[in-house]
C-alpha cells in the first residue's frame, strides 16, 4: 500500500484540475467530489500507516519513486516520496482534518457563487501540502512549499471583491515571500554543502558539516519557517488572513499550512542539531516570545476569528519552543492536538458566523450555547483542550512541552511557557464566556439556528478528537513519541516526581486563567474590576488593542521606504534615466537619419556609384595589403 503514496497527492490534484476545468458543469456536486478527492487519500494513508506499523521500527522509512524529474549529468532530482512516521502523521492530519473541513465547507459555502472554484483551490492546497510533507527532495518540497503559499493567497483573497480580503491576501503573500526567500537560500546552502537534495542525504551529511555552515543553513530554514508558520517577526499576516472563508482559516491557518514550518524543522532536525546551540536556541526563544506576544495580543481582540488567529500564532510558538529544546516529537504531538482543537474552534466560530450572517465581533454576541447546542458543546471541548484542562488533549501536549523545556534546563523558557498557559486559558475563556455563556445576545435579534448537518458532521468528530486526542501519546501505550523516534530521534522524558509537579503547575495555570476570565467577563461582579483594570493599565491596554503598533512599525520601517524606493525608481530612474536613454537614442537616430536621408536620392545610378566606390576601396585595400 505504501507504493500508493503518489496517489495520495495525485487524487486531490486530479480533483483540483477536474473542478478547475469542469467546475461549472459539476456545480453542486463539487463539494462531494472534492471531499472524496481528499477523503480517499485519508483512507490510503490509514492503510499506509498499517503497512508501516507492520515493518520493523528501523525499516519504517520507505522511498517511493513517482517518476524521474530532472536528470542533468550527475545531478538528478527524481520525484521521490518519503514515507516515514513523521510524514505519515502529517499526511493523516492533513487528510483527516482536511476531509472533515471539506465536508464542513459543503454546508458553509452553500450558495456561494464560486462554489466549485473554492473546492478546486482547497483540493489544490491539499495536494500541495501533501507534496510538501511527502517530498523526499528539497526541490519537490519547495514546490509544495510554494504551492501551499499560492493556495493560501488564492483562498485568503477568495472574496476578492472586498478590498480587505484582497489586501490581506497580498500581505500574506508578500510576507511569506520574505520567508520563502530565506528558505530558498537555505536550500541552496544545504544542497551545496551536502551535495544532494534528498532529505535522507542531507540529514546524513549534516553531521559532517562545519558548524558555521550548519548554523547558517538552519537559521535560513528557520527564516522560512517564521514566514510560513507566522512567528516573530513575520507573524503579521496571519490575523489579517482571517478575511478568507472560515474553513480556509481552519484548514490552512490552523491545522496544516502554518504547521509546515514545524514539520520542516522536525524533518531537518539533524541540521539543527549539527549547528549545536545557537540555532536551536534562536528557535526556542523566538517560539517562546511569539507565544507570549500573541497571547497578549489575543486578550485585547474582539474579533472572534482574530482571537483564534492570535491563539494559533501563540500555539505555534509553543511548538517552536518544543523544537528549540530538541523535543521534536513533542512538537509534532502538539501540532496534532492543536490541529484537532483549533480546527474545531475555527469551525465552531464559522458556525457562529454562519448563523449570525457573518458577524465576528464578540461584543455583539452572547449566550449562544443554548441557541446552538452542537456548536456550543463542541466549542467547549476545544476551549477546555486549549486551556490545558485534564484530560482534554491540549493538556498532554502542552504539559509535555513545558516538561521538555524544564528538562533541558531552560527555566526562563519554561516560565514564559507557563505564563503563556495562563494567558491562553484567560483569552480563550474570555472568548467562550462572551460568546456562549450568559444572556442571549445577537446582532439585530436574529433567529439563531444550529449548524446544518454537514457542518455538524465535521464538528462532532473534531470535538471527540479534541477530547481524546491526547491519548495518542499516553505513556505506556503505543505512543506517538516512540513511533516518531526513527524519524526525529528520541526525546528525553523527565522521570520521577518532576513531571507530575510540572503537570500540576500547568493545570493550575489553566484553571487560573479560566477563573480570572470567568470573574472578569462572565460574572456581573467582574464588570467594575475590568473597567478599573482598563483605567489602571490604559496605555498597555491601548497598545495591546493596537497590536503593539507592529503593523504601523512595519509600515514605517519597511513599507514606506519601499514605496519611496519604488517611487524613486519609477519617477526618476525609469522616467528620466531609462526612458531618457531610450528616447535619446531614438532622437539621435531620428536626427541622424534626417541628415542622412539626403544621401538617398532615389537615382539608381547614384547608388551604383556608391557601390563602385566601395568596390574600389575594397580592391585598393586588398591590393595594398598584398593579398592580390
Amino acid at each position: 500500500m505504501i507504493d500508493l503514496a503518489p496517489y495520495v497527492i495525485a487524487l486531490p490534484l486530479a480533483g483540483a484540475l477536474l473542478l478547475m476545468i469542469f467546475g461549472k458543469r459539476i456545480g453542486k456536486a463539487a463539494g462531494i467530489v472534492a471531499s472524496a478527492a481528499i477523503g480517499v487519500p485519508f483512507l490510503l494513508a490509514l492503510a499506509m500507516l498499517v503497512d508501516l506499523l507492520g515493518l520493523h521500527a528501523e525499516e519504517r522509512s520507505v522511498i517511493v519513486t513517482a517518476f524521474e524529474w530532472i536528470e542533468v549529468g550527475d545531478f538528478e532530482a527524481a520525484a521521490r516520496l518519503l514515507v516515514d512516521p513523521l510524514s505519515i502523521v502529517m499526511v493523516l492530519v492533513v487528510t483527516g482534518v482536511g476531509t472533515l473541513i471539506h465536508i464542513y465547507s459543503i454546508g458553509y459555502m452553500h450558495g456561494e457563487a464560486r462554489y466549485a472554484r473554492f473546492f478546486s483551490y482547497m483540493n489544490l492546497f491539499a495536494a500541495s501540502m501533501l507534496l510538501l510533507v511527502l517530498a523526499d527532495n528539497l526541490l519537490l518540497l519547495y514546490v509544495g512549499w510554494e504551492g501551499v503559499g499560492l493556495c493560501s493567497y488564492l483562498l485568503i483573497g477568495f472574496w476578492f471583491e472586498r478590498p480587505a480580503a484582497a489586501n490581506a491576501a497580498k500581505k500574506a503573500f508578500i510576507v511569506n515571500r520574505v520567508g520563502d526567500f530565506s528558505f530558498l537560500i537555505g536550500i541552496f546552502v544545504l544542497s551545496a554543502s551536502a551535495g544532494s537534495l534528498t532529505v535522507g542525504q542531507v540529514n546524513a551529511e549534516a553531521g559532517g558539516m562545519a558548524a558555521g555552515v550548519a548554523t547558517a543553513a538552519a537559521l535560513l530554514l528557520f527564516g522560512g519557517a517564521t514566514g510560513k508558520s507566522a512567528q516573530i517577526p513575520l507573524y503579521v499576516w496571519l490575523p489579517d488572513a482571517m478575511e478568507g472563508p472560515t474553513p480556509v482559516s481552519a484548514l490552512i491557518h490552523a491545522a496544516t499550512m502554518v504547521t509546515a514550518g514545524v514539520y520542516m524543522i522536525a524533518r531537518f532536525s539533524p541540521v539543527f542539531e549539527a549547528s549545536g546551540g545557537p540555532a536551536l536556541l534562536v528557535v526556542a526563544w523566538i517560539g517562546a516570545l511569539t507565544a507570549l506576544w500573541a497571547g497578549l495580543l489575543a486578550t485585547a481582540e474582539y474579533d472572534i476569528k482574530r482571537v483564534l488567529a492570535y491563539s494559533t500564532v501563540s500555539q505555534l510558538g509553543y511548538m517552536f519552543l518544543a523544537l528549540g529544546v530538541g523535543a521534536y516529537s513533542v512538537a509534532i504531538f502538539h501540532l496534532v492536538t492543536h490541529a484537532f482543537f483549533k480546527a474545531l474552534m475555527f469551525l465552531g466560530a464559522g458556525s457562529v458566523m454562519h448563523s449570525l450572517k457573518g458577524e465576528t465581533d464578540m461584543r455583539r454576541m452572547g449566550g449562544l450555547r443554548k441557541a446552538m447546542p452542537v456548536t456550543g458543546w463542541t466549542f467547549m471541548m476545544g476551549w477546555l483542550a486549549i486551556s490545558g484542562i485534564i484530560p482534554f488533549s491540549g493538556f498532554f501536549s502542552k504539559d509535555a512541552i513545558l516538561a521538555s523545556a524544564w528538562h533541558e534546563g531552560q527555566f526562563l523558557l519554561w516560565l514564559i511557557g507557563a505564563v503563556t498557559a495562563v494567558l491562553t486559558a484567560f483569552y480563550m475563556s474570555r472568548l467562550y464566556f462572551r460568546v456562549f455563556e450568559g444572556k442571549l445576545v445577537t446582532p439585530g435579534n436574529l433567529h439563531v439556528h444550529d449548524a446544518p448537518p454537514s457542518m455538524a458532521a465535521a464538528l462532532l468528530p473534531l470535538g471527540a478528537l479534541a477530547v481524546i486526542g491526547g491519548a495518542i501519546n499516553l505513556p505506556g501505550a503505543l505512543t506517538l513519541e516512540v513511533f516518531l523516534e526513527p524519524a526525529v530521534g528520541h526525546s528525553e522524558v523527565p522521570g520521577g516526581i518532576v513531571p507530575w509537579i510540572l503537570g500540576a503547575i500547568a493545570l493550575v495555570a489553566g484553571v487560573a486563567g479560566i477563573a480570572a476570565a470567568r470573574f472578569l467577563y462572565a460574572l456581573p461582579s467582574g464588570q467594575k474590576p475590568l473597567e478599573t483594570l482598563h483605567e489602571r493599565f490604559s496605555p498597555l491596554v491601548n497598545a495591546t488593542q493596537h497590536k503593539f503598533y507592529v503593523d504601523e512599525l512595519y509600515g514605517r520601517a519597511i513599507v514606506l521606504p519601499g514605496k519611496a524606493l519604488a517611487s524613486f525608481c519609477a519617477n526618476f530612474l525609469d522616467a528620466r534615466i531609462v526612458d531618457g536613454a531610450v528616447n535619446g537614442v531614438a532622437w539621435l537616430v531620428g536626427q541622424s537619419s534626417w541628415a542622412l536621408r539626403r544621401v538617398q536620392t532615389g537615382y539608381i545610378r547614384n547608388y551604383a556609384l556608391t557601390f563602385l566606390f566601395g568596390v574600389v576601396v575594397a580592391f585598393s585595400l586588398l591590393a595594398f595589403r598584398g593579398v592580390l
Binding site: R605, L609, F619, A623
Partner: protein
C-alpha cells in the same frame, strides 16, 4: 606563334575598341551593335584559348539570342532616341569616370602581376590542349558538367523556369478579355511570349 599574337591583337583591338565605341555611341541600337562586335571578338578570344564549345555558345546565346532580344525591345519601345550629353546628376559622370579609371588601373596592376603568376601556368595550358584532343572539348566539358557540377546545373534549370514564369507574369496584359483566338490580339500576345522566352 606569331600568328596567334596577330589574332590576339586583332581580337584585342576589336573587343576594346568596340566597348569604347559602345561607351561613346549615343544611339541604343549602335551600342547594341558594338556590343555584338565585342562578343564576337570575345568568342575569338575563347577560340584562341581552346574553349571551342564556350565560343560557339557565346555566339549562339549572346550574339544570337540575348542581343537580338535587346534589339527587339528597343524597336518595340522606340527608345532609340539620342541621349542628352549633359548628365542631370551633378558629379555623376566625372566621379564615375574617375572611379572607373581607378578600377581599371587596379585591375591592370593585378593583371600585370598575374603575368608573372602565369609564367608557371604554361604547363597546364598544354594540359588543356591535351584534354581538348583526347576526350575532346565538348566531352571534357560534359563529363565535368554532368558529374561534379550536376547540382548547380539543375539549379540553373530551376532559375530559368522561374525567370520564364516571372516574365510571363510581368509581360501579361491584365484585364484583356480573351477573344475568339483568331484576332490580332492573340497574335501580339504570343508575339510577346515568343520574344520573352
Amino acid at each position: 606563334m606569331n600568328l596567334e599574337y596577330f589574332v590576339f591583337g586583332v581580337m584585342f583591338v576589336m573587343a576594346l575598341g568596340a566597348s569604347l565605341a559602345m561607351l561613346f555611341a549615343r544611339n541604343a541600337v549602335h551600342a547594341a551593335l558594338f556590343l555584338v562586335v565585342t562578343q564576337v571578338a570575345l568568342a575569338l578570344g575563347f577560340l584562341l584559348q581552346g574553349a571551342f564549345f564556350v565560343a560557339a555558345v557565346q555566339i549562339i546565346l549572346y550574339a544570337g539570342a540575348i542581343m537580338v532580344l535587346f534589339l527587339f525591345v528597343i524597336m518595340l519601345l522606340g527608345v532609340d532616341t539620342r541621349e542628352a550629353l549633359i548628365d542631370p546628376l551633378p558629379g555623376q559622370r566625372p566621379l564615375a569616370i574617375g572611379l572607373g579609371g581607378l578600377l581599371a588601373a587596379e585591375i591592370l596592376w593585378v593583371a600585370v602581376r598575374g603575368v608573372e603568376l602565369a609564367a608557371g601556368g604554361e604547363d597546364q595550358a598544354t594540359a588543356l590542349t591535351e584534354l581538348n584532343q583526347n576526350p575532346g572539348n565538348v566531352k571534357a566539358l560534359a563529363a565535368e558538367l554532368f558529374s561534379r557540377y550536376l547540382l548547380p546545373f539543375e539549379a540553373t534549370s530551376v532559375l530559368l523556369v522561374v525567370a520564364i514564369v516571372g516574365v510571363m507574369v510581368l509581360a501579361r496584359r491584365i484585364g484583356r478579355v480573351p477573344n475568339t483566338g483568331t484576332g490580332a490580339e492573340s497574335a501580339s500576345g504570343s508575339d510577346k511570349e515568343g520574344a520573352a522566352a
